[in-house]
Amino acid sequence: MNKAEDSEGSAGYYRRMQSAVEELLVLRGILTPEGIEEQVAAMDSRTYKSGAKVVARAWVDAAYKARLLDDPRTAVAELGFSVGPMHLIVIENTPTVHNVVVCTLCSCYPRMLLGVPPHWYKSREYRSRMVREPRAVLAEFGCALPAGIDIRVHDSTADMRYMVLPLRPAGTAGLGEAALAELVTRDCLVGVGLAACPTSSG
């Protein structure tokens, strides 16, 4: 075994490398400690909830949905979300098509809108199997698709980043935008889940 003797194993080695590289780059004036902390805070503040808000707006406003599908960067900016230079593409689920996103080569994910990807998205298992057996993998996520639906798997190999626009669940006609946003999970936005129907009435 080549693991470090340190009880943290390789994580300790790379953690020390991270501290060292940071200190050296600060000494060189390439970075500042404040800049790093700001960036950590910026990523912490990006969560799937921004995607949920975008979805909820698209569900209640057909014109917004059309703008979102046509020019996602501008449409999400209408709601106050800036994705910077990221090439965002929104793909719409329909009653006959279910979309799901993967990056088989690394871990490309719409981070500027949704924050850091979940651990499973970067795993060997997900990256290997989603393009080859999407239905089996979706079943492992508890995503029960209707019979006869077509699946589109999107492999993010270049600069485009994908977010799924899930189907609005049945029985939600009376819900306002905020309540609708609550139904949208991060899994829906990647495509490994469906937006949940509300379980309580009223």
Binding site: T104, L105, V131, R132, E133, P134, R135, A136, G148, I149, D150, I151, R152, V153, H154, D155, S156, T157, A158, D159, M160
Partner: protein
């Protein structure tokens, strides 16, 4: 895209709806065309624009002239002989032009 990069883009060879085959090449180095689609035939869905070639950017070269990038759709049952799923299931991938050739 910067003015200079736009001027230095290679012309697009393919249009939406064209059938294309991914070259069956396996070079070492930083390649963004996944192994599983090489040698397979798909249909061009979208012209994504032209971008500096990441295979060259990976070696700190400028990747110019910019390569046209295409979104290509493959039938899952064509990619995998043992595919279990719907006849219309697909995988969509962005592929650079230099990896594509026309297919019948």
């Amino acid at each position: 895209m910067a003015e200079s990069a736009a001027a230095e883009a290679i012309a697009s060879l393919f249009a939406i709806g064209d059938r294309v085959r991914v070259r069956k090449q396996h070079p070492p180095g930083h390649v963004r065309t996944p192994h599983y689609c090489r040698g397979h035939v798909g249909v061009v869905l979208r012209l994504c624009g032209a971008f500096p070639n990441p295979e060259e950017l990976a070696y700190k070269r400028n990747g110019l002239p910019a390569q046209p990038l295409y979104r290509v759709r493959f039938a899952s049952r064509e990619l995998w002989t043992d595919y279990i799923g719907g006849a219309n299931d697909v995988v969509e991938i962005e592929i650079y032009q230099h990896w594509l050739e026309p297919a019948a």
